[in-house]
Symmetry: C2
Subunit: 347 residues, 2 copies
DNA sequence: TTGAAAGCGCTAACAA
DNA sequence: TTGTTAGCGCTTTCAA
């Protein structure tokens, strides 16, 4: 039992943060801090007259609530941690934009971080975010280190794994099947009469989803009795990487009438290489990508690719989380949002 | 167990997070919480034997410190808020990557958010971040709403404004002169014999730095006695926007032998349009950009552009902040990191 | 509808 | 070097 009979001394003089506190707002409005807190958190639970006084005090003082204190008192912060492989990569940017927008307008803050396709960085990031007592965590993909999974389960909060819907989600999976995407595109190429299709990916041991698209490619090509050739480049995808990759294939005289790239960035690099060498696309070589990035529709020729449901993933994730926060618990565990085959002129 | 009329819909509101606390660690290690706290924050201040016991207790329990509690008690969190116009745009991604990496390995967490080039969103973001009691704030550019500036000053923490070094920084400016960049490129084009140079930018009322590059262009062109033509497109930069912009110029029969785009994305779009129309670059039309993005070196022809010190800005910002956190106070207020003219074949 | 009071989990004076 | 103790600023019982 702590005896705290004496009135609280002006705390600002002691270990001063210099910031306006709820206490000052309460004093100016002539109410208790509980009332101020209520006005901010559940308006409607407070009479209009008091609420008005509180609000004008907030304005006059320029009060900004201290989220650390709030989160600590409430045992859970109003934050959501979001972990993606890369923000440099515009794939995820569309999802994050949508997700952050929706969540933040509902009063939640999203913290995001990128792993650079490393499980170790992912683990560190999850641990760092968990230290904020987030109300939920959103990860990319379904493969994580054992410890990451353990930490996440121990946190007992909603966990969304996005951009994939294969088996084994921790809690909720929202995305689409990369295997099916790989299969679809390959089948399309076969229908168009291509017989020697080469798949090129980058760091596919780290990029699980690219590996799954390669798997889908393998299935389709094998089912058609055609040979499978998968190239896994050792560095991160970049436009600069696509050209040399194609050049290498050419030097090695690999028989090939279609190049299926694990993403549009690589495909654009390959396309540039074709322009440089005067290889006619798609007459001599079909080129296909994945992602439907900004440039895919305007490059020459425009790129045949797969459009993932970037924004839909963000929207669905936000909706799912908000529903969980509101107490709904019997929600779907997996949401397959599908994808679109964008047929353009490159293949 | 008593029946309740309205069961708490949300377990988040329950007291007790179920997380391992420092108290439990202390108990297991047979020490006080202060000792645990010290081991975690200033190792060396604790004897090896105790430190060892504490560390193994931390491991066994899987203890993750609660940053809310820590930040609250310490009056300042170990976070740094970073605000950029866009993460979709790879300009800033390089800076953020470098900055976050450096800061996080020094034990600081960066929170980042994007404003989508809106001052109002910037203000909201700054306010949201300030609610976390960050140890410092990093913004992009030097123009902000009055209230943003007021909030920032009131926070009494280091504030870095990056990517620009013109006048009027709140605290510290780290970047380069966009005006000089615009001038340099334009002078180069003039030296190469170009006489009708058109500048194309996008949403330049919001993108202050693009506007400054346009200003530099204007100065250079005027100084040379040449006409200035500045086009300001109404939507955000995208590859898809560059083609139509050039097409429009062509339709309007604007006299032009060089197109200076406010960034590489627009330039790439224009380049594709040239390919489509069979306009020889640079023979018929020179194309120049800004940013030196991934594709600039590999497109056809490779793009003449300006390389901003993306990573250096991140590095310098981190160094400056870390120095300030360490108590150094007499630091430079502005750091001009310069830029590189990358001459390639498109101009 | 409102207020008083008891912490949330941690850090930092201060003592020992 | 270590422990004791008093809060950090807020939320949430609980009682009025």
């Amino acid at each position: 039992m702590r005896a705290r009979t004496a009135p609280k001394p002006d705390s600002r003089l002691r270990r001063g943060s210099g910031r306006v506190t709820m206490d000052e707002v309460a004093r100016l409005a002539g109410v208790s801090t509980s009332t101020v807190s209520r006005v901010l958190r559940e308006p409607g639970a407070v009479s209009d007259s008091l609420a008005g006084r509180v609000r004008s005090a907030v304005d006059r003082l320029g009060y900004v609530p201290n989220l650390m204190a709030g989160g600590l008192a409430a045992a859970r912060g109003r934050t959501v941690g979001v972990v993606v492989p890369s923000i440099l990569n515009s794939f995820f940017a569309g999802t994050i934009d949508t997700l952050s927008g929706l969540l933040s307008s509902a009063g939640w803050q999203v913290l995001d971080g990128s792993t650079d396709y490393s499980e170790a960085r992912e683990e560190a990031l999850v641990e760092a975010f968990l230290a904020w007592s987030p109300a939920a965590m959103v990860l990319t993909g379904l493969r994580h280190s054992e410890r990451t999974v353990r930490l996440l389960r121990a946190a007992r909060i909603p966990v969304v794994e996005m951009w994939d819907v294969s088996e084994g989600a921790i809690d909720i999976a929202i995305g689409f099947s990369h295997r099916a995407a790989g299969r679809s595109m390959t089948q399309y190429l076969i229908e168009k009469g291509r017989r020697r299709i080469v798949f090129v990916g980058a760091i596919m041991t780290s990029d699980q989803r690219a590996a799954q698209r390669a798997e889908g490619y393998r299935e389709a090509v094998t089912a058609a009795g055609l040979p499978a050739t998968v190239i896994d480049l050792p560095s991160r995808s970049s436009v600069a990487l696509g050209g040399p990759a194609l050049a290498d294939l050419l030097v090695r005289q690999v028989e090939m009438d279609a190049l299926y790239c694990s993403n549009d960035v690589l495909a654009l690099g390959a396309l540039f290489e074709c322009q440089r060498r005067g290889i006619a696309v798609p007459q001599h070589l079909s080129i296909a990508g994945f992602g439907d990035l900004d440039f895919a529709a305007s490059c020459v020729p425009p790129l045949t690719t797969i459009r993932p449901p970037r924004e839909a993933i963000g929207r669905e994730t936000a909706a799912m989380l908000l529903a969980r926060f509101a107490g709904q618990t019997h929600l779907r565990r997996a949401v397959d949002l599908g994808f679109d085959l964008q047929i353009r002129r490159s293949a």
